[in-house]
């Protein structure tokens, strides 16, 4: 063994204080999701019109879309916690994809139906600007808290983990949005919803990318 390596090992051993092991990723994901459920549940009960929501959710197309969005959010958050650990399979990144595809396609179907029923007005901009800001405003605090927890694992591929977490929080934001969205989505609305999701994913990933570069530069 090279002298330099032996010397490094001596230093690392001298620095070997006891560490607290991370809890299993599935448990950490569940605890975070429960905290989000509790906080958003309070907001929804206080401010949302639940009668309208339960009236709309009887429509099977909307129910499928809403459940697919919820499953995407949960799956992406679970995948992010798994991917943050070194020895977990990269295949975890595929977990949210089926429900994400179902979310986009069912939402697209709703738009198409809306367009057929209402004609050209199906292309009009609904209440999209508010939806856009709702998804951003809901996602950002969740993303901050999730990134804080994910960084505890000091992930080896931080941008991939952050992108997966951001997909999770923006999908959960879209789930919550349905409680405050008393109308079907138009094509434009769908574009705005997915645009907001994409913006959150890109924004959080870019933040993590530059933050990781900053950390590496400070170490250099």
């Amino acid at each position: 063994m090279a002298d330099e390596t032996a010397k490094l090992i001596e230093r690392l051993v001298a620095d070997a204080r006891p560490v607290r092991r991370l809890r299993p990723p599935a448990l950490r994901a569940c605890l975070w999701l429960l905290a989000v459920l509790a906080a958003s549940g309070v907001v929804i009960v206080l401010f949302a019109d639940l009668d309208v929501f339960f009236g709309r959710i009887t429509d099977s197309a909307l129910a499928i879309e809403w459940v697919a969005t919820l499953v995407t959010g949960i799956a992406a958050v679970l995948a992010a916690f798994q991917l943050s650990l070194p020895d977990r399979s990269p295949a975890w990144a595929l977990l949210p994809l089926p429900s994400f595809a179902l979310w986009v396609s069912s939402s697209g179907y709703s738009c198409f139906r809306h367009w057929i029923v209402y004609g050209p007005t199906g292309w009009e901009l609904g209440d999209s600007a508010n939806c856009f800001f709702f998804i951003l405003a809901f996602s950002l605090p969740l993303a901050a808290s999730l990134l804080f927890l994910l960084r505890r694992a000091a992930p080896l591929a931080p941008v991939r983990v952050a992108a997966m977490g951001a997909l999770g929080v923006s999908a959960l934001a879209a789930v919550a949005l349905q409680f405050f969205h008393p109308f079907d989505v138009t094509f434009v609305d769908l574009g705005v919803h997915l645009g907001a999701v994409a913006l959150v994913v890109l924004g959080v990933s870019a933040t993590e990318y530059f933050s990781a570069r900053g950390r590496a530069a400070r170490q250099a």
Binding site: R21, A154, L156, Q219
Partner: protein, 186 residues
């Protein structure tokens, strides 16, 4: 039970003990995993220097993320995932660095103006450099060796030498200043 499985369980137990602060177990573990890390990354880095760099980088990463190891799971997949990832990161870092460096053969040609050549020759003269480095005070010499000759990062050099990053920076600055003075006669 195979020797492979034996080794696996032994490393897993050693790491669990190291997580609880057992330094002797950690020392044994780190020394034993060096050859495994070498074998994992050797194919990607052909020269001994580079392999050593990766091994040290992997050891530092293992130290930084040791709280992520779950003793209920096998140790080798955890270690080899870290080794492969750090190895790729190092290859990328080298690729980026070489993409930014420009090789200009004409830079070594002499200039028509003799005065310009003299200035180049002063910096090209490296005959006494080793001697000049050897003559530096110990802390400055150590900073030059770790940061410039072995090209370690400040954090890595700090881990190896046990000195703070700020102290390494100050010693490096002083070393460069006295080497310049000695080599150029300024």
């Amino acid at each position: 039970m195979t020797a492979e499985t034996d080794n696996e369980r032994r490393w897993s137990r050693l790491m669990a003990a190291a997580q609880d602060g057992d330094r002797a177990a950690y020392d044994v573990l780190l020394r034993e995993i060096v050859s495994f890390i070498r074998a994992t990354v050797f194919g990607q880095h052909r020269t001994e220097d580079r392999v050593q760099d990766v091994v040290q980088d992997v050891l530092l990463t293992v130290h930084r993320v040791r709280h992520t190891y779950d003793p209920q799971r096998p140790f080798k997949p955890w270690l080899s995932a870290i080794a492969r990832r750090r190895s790729i990161d190092l290859l990328r870092r080298r690729g980026r660095r070489s993409a930014l460096e420009i090789s200009d053969d004409r830079a070594y040609e002499t200039f028509p103006d003799p005065g310009a050549n003299r200035a180049m020759e002063v910096y090209a003269k490296t005959d006494g450099l080793g001697e000049a480095i050897a003559g530096l005070p110990e802390q400055q010499r150590e900073a030059v060796e770790l940061l410039k000759l072995k090209e370690l990062s400040l954090i890595e050099a700090s881990q190896v030498s046990g000195r703070s990053v700020a102290a390494l920076k100050v010693n490096m600055h002083r070393a460069i200043k006295s080497l310049r003075a000695r080599m150029t006669g300024e």
